[in-house]
């Protein structure tokens, strides 16, 4: 028995000697996908997963020519659970890439498990400013949009519409203040009021009365999730739509907000890097296949999940499946040679996107429902982020 075991280990060592040194093509690509898939906040994670899985399916179950194994887990909206799942995928399952997380706070808690163990993380959504500046990381790629970008685009749109003054509303926490800072960075008019509300607030009657009294030309809100749905319903019910232009970040006017708000959404402006009506070939295919597969209109999040898979697909293809050469894989990811559903896309020096941002307006889909339609010209062209200069990585 011992002889046999020794023989085996010798053979194994010999085999390792043969393969070691030169990089070789892997027989499959393993991806750890951790996202929020249950509970009230799960719709976003489910969309990212469905977009990602659709891309893998359309590639015949392969990414970059290798059979793809996507390990999916639910972080239950808990940072500690996400961290444990990351550890399991990185250390036990030895995945080649990690991806999936929706929320910044969860991602930032779990991320060290991947990055410290030299596993690349492709972010399909969260792209906080903290990872864009001096703390940028060579193993971190954001294939979505920097946190400030939608707000900057909204500020630019208010300028274009020649709106002279604006009222701003956000929850009283860091992301709320950062978002309004993004709007103010671009907006040239006067800020007539700035109101920070309780996180998770239900009723906005008091704020709406203040806004009515302030008579701004533009109203910009950063109220993610249910808060935005509540606010938009109440804004329309209060009849303020006639007196001012309500501007929204794209995620507050996406399909997952349009459905619960209903007809009141019609005509509202919002800013995003993607829209279901983009006419490029990659997007047409994505939207058609997504509707066929899941019987619903894809959201921004679904498009981001789809693009994350396409990015990995391109990188694995370009290194010819040699996943054990980390520098080559990184280089291939940075080159980002894939047809993004959003149109032109490239990475900045901090591995955050440089891309176009569009104004969208909610209109009829011709089937009795509502859908986003984009303006022809981008409001921000080849736009990066304000933090990239502080990042020591070079192009």
């Amino acid at each position: 028995m011992t002889d046999f075991r020794r023989l085996c280990s010798t053979a194994l060592a010999a085999a390792m000697l043969l393969t070691g040194g030169a990089a070789s093509a892997a027989d499959k690509v393993k991806i750890g996908f951790v996202s929020t898939l249950s509970g009230p906040s799960s719709a976003l994670g489910v969309d990212i997963r469905d977009g990602f899985q659709l891309a893998v399916k359309l590639n015949g179950g392969k990414l970059g020519g290798l059979p793809a194994e996507v390990l999916v887990s639910d972080d239950q909206f808990k940072p500690d659970v996400a961290r444990q799942l990351f550890e399991r995928y990185v250390k036990r399952d030895k995945v080649d890439f990690m991806t999936g997380v929706v929320f910044s706070n969860i991602m930032l808690a779990a991320l060290p498990e991947a990055l410290d163990n030299k596993v690349i993380y492709i972010s399909p959504n969260a792209a906080p400013s903290s990872m864009a500046g001096k703390d940028c990381n060579p193993l971190f790629f954001a294939v979505s949009w920097p946190n400030d970008a939608y707000h900057e685009a909204a500020g630019a749109f208010a300028n274009q519409r020649e709106l002279k003054n604006a009222y701003l509303l956000a929850p009283n926490y860091q992301a709320g203040k950062d978002s309004l800072a993004g709007f103010k960075r671009m907006f040239k008019g006067q800020i007539v009021g700035e109101n920070y509300t309780k996180l998770g607030q239900l009723d906005y009657a008091a704020e709406l009365a203040e806004i009515r009294a302030a008579k701004p030309q533009a109203l910009y809100i950063f109220l993610p999730g249910g808060m935005g749905i509540n606010f938009i319903k109440q804004f329309v019910g209060a009849g303020l739509g006639k007196d001012m232009t309500l501007l929204l970040p794209g995620f507050s006017a996406d399909q997952d907000v349009i459905n619960p708000v209903g007809p009141a959404m019609a005509g509202l402006f919002n800013t995003a890097h993607w829209s279901p009506d983009f006419a490029n070939a990659a997007n047409r295919k994505f939207v058609a296949e997504f509707e066929k597969e899941y019987k619903r209109v894809p959201t921004l999040y679904a498009s981001q999940g789809y693009d994350a898979a396409q990015l990995i697909n391109a990188a694995v293809r370009d290194v010819k499946g040699k996943l054990d050469d980390p520098d080559a894989v990184r280089k291939a990811l940075r080159a980002a040679r894939f047809e993004s559903v959003r149109g032109p896309f490239k990475f900045n020096n901090n591995q955050y996107p440089i891309q176009n941002y569009f104004v969208r307006t909610v209109g009829s889909d011709g089937k009795g429902g509502l859908i986003n339609k984009s303006f022809n010209e981008p409001i921000l062209k080849d736009h990066g982020d304000a933090y990239a200069q502080a990042c020591p990585m070079t192009k």
Binding site: S38, G39, P40, S41, S42, A43, N172, E194, N195, Y196, T197, K198, L199, G200, L202, D203, A205, A206, E207, A209, E210, R212, A213, G226, I229, N230, K233, Q234, G237, A238, G239, D256, N259, P260, V261, G262, P263, A264
Partner: protein
């Protein structure tokens, strides 16, 4: 702050208070009469809202939707009481909290499986907009309706609890369960009935708040916390307490978000006011609760 704005904000406070009352009334009856901490009360509110949205879309009429939702949610609540919650009465509060918390998770994902994560629900077209009031005030019609229904429901519940035989049994059950049982009250049936009533009130709240708030999975948890604050302030088991507590919470919350901000801006340098204002506004309600608890640990209108 102009007078008109002040009146509008006072109206907002009243409206928000009555909105909370719709939910707190059911919660306080169940808690008071059955001595049962039902965390899943918010889930019944969610079920009511989803049923209303679903039935409204199906029938084309909001009012049919509301009536159907109230009926179905009451039946659902009673079924829940008979099959599951009944076994929890003899247990301590910790077991009740754990079991009903589990129920929140189950109902959240159950609703998601049946209806999806969210449904649209709009007010009927005639009430879906602002109406002019005296003094140049413009106020959303739907919020006026909530004020009206809230007050009517408060009156109705008061009559039911104070003037009817069922109400007498409920009050007896709330003040001493064992004694009322010994006096020949069929407590089991009474509890099922009370729970059904609580669930029906949830459905009224869910369908009336649906046009203002998102009808989505998890909508119950947010508002449940405020409803608990209300009944702790008002005194557990007391309808009158729930009404006064709701109005207090509504007024304090709204004033904290408006008058307090204006006051701070006058009194403090701008950077201090903008930092302190929102922080104080979000804790105002809890400061009120702490104050009431120090002053009257049993709440304002204790039953026992």
């Amino acid at each position: 702050m102009t007078d008109v704005l002040f009146i509008e904000q006072a109206l907002n406070g009243l409206q928000f208070g009555l909105m909370l009352f719709l939910l707190a009334a059911g919660l306080t009856i169940v808690f008071g009469v059955m001595d049962m901490i039902n965390l899943a009360h918010g889930s019944l509110y969610m079920v009511g809202a989803f049923l209303a949205a679903w039935l409204t879309a199906l029938s084309g009429s909001f009012w049919i939707g509301v009536a159907g939702a109230v009926l179905l949610t009451a039946l659902f609540g009673m079924a829940l009481e008979v099959t599951l919650l009944r076994t929890l009465y003899a247990r301590d509060h910790l077991s009740q909290v754990l079991a009903t918390f589990a129920l929140i998770l189950i109902l959240n994902d159950g609703v998601k499986m049946v209806f999806g994560t969210d449904l649209p629900l709009s007010a009927p077209a005639a009430l879906d907009g602002p109406v002019p009031l005296p003094l140049g005030l413009v106020y959303p019609a739907w919020r006026l309706l909530i004020i009206g229904v809230g007050l009517a429901l408060a009156l109705l519940l008061w009559v039911l609890v104070q003037k009817t035989r069922v109400g007498a049994l409920v009050r007896a059950g709330a003040s001493n369960r064992e004694m009322s049982s010994a006096m020949g009250v069929d407590v089991a049936r009474l509890f099922t009935l009370v729970f059904g009533l609580g669930a029906a009130l949830c459905a009224v709240a869910g369908s009336l708040l649906g046009p203002l708030l998102a009808v989505q999975v998890g909508m119950g948890e947010n508002i449940l916390i405020l409803a608990f604050v209300v009944i702790v302030i008002g005194g557990i088991g007391s309808i009158r307490g729930a009404l006064i507590g709701s109005l207090l919470v509504g007024a304090v919350d709204t004033l904290g978000r408006t008058l307090l901000q204006h006051g701070l801006r006058e009194a403090l340098p701008p950077q201090w006011a903008s930092a302190a204002g929102p922080a104080l506004a979000s804790i105002a309600v809890y400061v009120l609760m702490a104050g009431v608890l120090v002053w009257r640990p049993q709440g304002l209108f204790p039953v026992r």
